[in-house]
Amino acid sequence: MLLQIEDLRIDGTDVDGNSVEIVKGVSLEVDRGQVLGLIGESGAGKSTIGLAALGYVRPGCHFAGGSVRLDGQELVGAPVGQLLDIRGRRVAYVAQSAAAAFNPAHRLLDQICEVHRRHGLGPRAEAERFAVELFGKLGLPDPERFGQRYPHQVSGGQLQRAMTVMALITRPDLVVFDEPTTALDVTTQIEVLAAMRRAIREQGAAALYVTHDLAVVAQMADRILVLRHGAAVELGETRQILEQPRQDYTRALVSVRRGAHERHGGHERSVVLAVDRVDAAYGAQQVLFDVSLRVERAATVAVVGESGSGKSTLARVITGLLPPRSGQVRFGGEVLSNDLAGRSKDHRRRLQLIYQMPDVAVNPRQTVREIIGRPLAFYLGMHGDALRRRVKELLARIELPAHFADRFPGELSGGQKQRICIARALAAEPELIICDEVTSALDPLVADEILNLLLRLQEESGLSYLFITHDLATVRAIAHEVVVMQRGRVVDSGGKDQVMAPPFHDYTGKLIRSVPEMRTDWLDEVLAGRV
């Protein structure tokens, strides 16, 4: 057995200096040629276990028990000199953000060959030759000269592959991948995944693949270990985990990605929001070209596209933060002023916005009561007991207990903060809520709860949503209509069933095919389809 972790326990300290258990007795084994996926939500301890395979714990944490053995050699409590010899040479690490892991001041090749040199593995020329070979294998352009570039001269996906080269340059026995594709676009993600998988197989190395995305790990791993709150939930073959999960938690994880909600009742609807032929620009750079769309009452329109497609700019135009160059936005039959300052209080109230990052969307120094209560006081003139009662009602509607009113955002989880943002929008009693990637910063299970909440609120109050997202699973789950954007233009639009089913528009089809599916052979099929 190459890597054997037994009853591993790691403790850390929180901000108040109290000891907390991060990993609570996890055991796992990986043999040569195998890939083990570690999956779980944030806080599950999966990265901590990944790092423990290098005999490393983050500052403030320590091994509280158990053992980590590499080829029978104990790493827990091993002398630092011994660990330094192993790290990088026998066990390599690929971090989540390659952009943060490379030194911007040195050429890629110098940084990649440094590992080789530090471990005294032979002349540099040899390392360079091998690096060029790996560049080629990982599908990087112009392998001969790629290493001469600086980190800022290559794309995020290329940098992530360069880091994989850095990990593989010493021909390690074990590679730990810590969410290596999370920061990448779906279309780039495929190439990186395929390249990593090929490289690992050819070297006969073993790998630990840490991620929160079940569909991604399905392409990479032979076996999957599901983690929650620092403990193992289920360990099994990838196919078994996906098709016959034994534990409730695993079943929940799997069904989130497969989840779908159906549209209810189909009677005549009036148009709430109409965007007509809008052009918009930041300075000299035009971002939106002739964009039109409409949102009906009690309906959800999803705007999808890759990053840079202009979908968030569209939200800024609708809310009045960015006056369009031409075209107009009509709301409930009235033309909205292009400029935020020219809009009436009533218009502002009826059109609310929820942000992607709940952490920065609420003031960390206001209590929940102040955050939710402000729109009530501002728009509806509520105060005193009426306001307190209404805040309590709103908390109940977003399924949070009433005593949360006196908490600060810092005391809430990401999902709870997003609920507070929803309550703040609801407080204004709006007709339309623009949701700008509201679930993309959340764990899958939490994101699913938020989507369900939004759907329920829509049924209760007849709200309309303009849902901006790059996640097609979300679109499938909640949209009635879909607008696909590419480079500032609407390239495809219509009912969900029409847009998201064959025959696809070219670009829509590419987006849909790029989303990892929960089948173990999905990646192979896509790659085969591309040739």
């Binding site: 901000v15 809310t319 009045g320 933060l321 935020l340 809009r343 209080k345 502002r348 916005l353 942000y355 990052m357 920065v360 969307a361 609420v362 003031n363 960390p364 120094r365 206001q366 402000r374 729109p375 501002f378 728009y379 600060f408 955002p409 810092g410 005391e411 703040r424 204004a428």
Partner: protein
């Protein structure tokens, strides 16, 4: 957070700092009543050493009681520094916040005016104004508060510019909140830790600036006692191996250190809270 909890969390060094700050505040408030002699009257021989009967801290260059002058000086020096710092922070941070939120030409105009004043060294600018306008107490306070205020403006504006692009501020703007509400409710609470840290430093700087001006004869006018002026008056004593100027100098140093001990702790608390959120 309750005061009791805050006290319990304090390390001993912060408690010491707090104790000294309170002690200085007490002396500043009641100094003139505690002083055994008048501040301006020679009561004994020149430069009596420390421990002389009746004059526990000795006498100064004119034979005035050192202890009495330190007590009188405490009120004047600390009081002045406090007034100047509070004034400069109120004006500086309000203007800084408003400039950052308003942006555009208002921000440009305010920032460039401040740049002009900041390009003069503080001491030179103070000397210039004081020698033209004459060194009266109101002129001194307003001049120093203005000079300090330009520095505070820069800091407040820089902090507010960062906060101004946060989404919770954008949400407030979308809601239609006025600029004053945004400054007070959204920006100020988040800028407070940084302003607090600066307050500790600025308080001591304005203290030192008054001392320096007094030393140059343009600050507080004799025979009124202030700590900076006392260092100057007794400076020659060093040549005779007498510690007289070290007493007021020591007071200045001690106050500076204790204020910063307290500020350090408050900063630490603030960053803990924001790290949690």
């Amino acid at each position: 957070m309750s005061v009791a909890l805050l006290l319990r969390r304090m390390p001993w060094i912060t408690r010491l700092g707090l104790l000294l700050v309170f002690l200085f505040a007490f002396l500043a408030a009641f100094g003139p009543w505690l002083a055994p002699y008048p501040e301006a009257e020679p009561v004994a021989d020149v430069w009596q050493p420390i421990g002389t009967v009746g004059f526990p801290l000795g006498t100064d260059t004119l034979g005035r009681d050192m202890l009495s002058r330190l007590l009188y000086g405490a009120q004047r020096s600390i009081g002045l520094a406090l007034v100047i710092t509070v004034l400069s922070f109120t004006v500086g941070s309000v203007c800084g916040f408003l400039a950052a939120i308003a942006g555009g030409w208002a921000d440009q105009a305010a920032s460039r005016v401040v740049d002009v004043f900041m390009s003069f060294p503080a001491l030179i600018l103070a000397l210039l104004v004081l020698s033209v306008m004459g060194s009266s107490l109101p002129v001194l306070v307003l001049t120093l508060a203005f000079i300090d205020g330009t520095r505070v403006f820069r800091l407040a504006r820089a902090v507010a510019v960062d906060l101004n692009v946060m989404e919770f501020v954008e949400a407030a703007k979308l809601r239609g909140e006025g600029i004053w509400w945004i400054a007070r409710k959204e920006i100020l609470p988040n800028a407070l830790p940084m302003l607090l840290a600066e307050f500790g430093v600025r308080f001591c700087f304005s203290f030192l600036l008054i001392s320096a001006l007094s030393f140059l004869g343009l600050g507080i006018q004799p025979p009124a006692a202030d700590w900076g002026g006392m260092v100057k008056d007794n400076a020659q004593a060093i040549a005779f191996g007498l510690p007289a100027p070290l007493l007021p100098a020591g007071c200045i140093a001690l106050l500076t250190i204790s204020v910063n001990l307290v500020v350090d702790f408050l900063l630490d608390q603030a960053s803990r809270r924001s790290r949690r959120g």
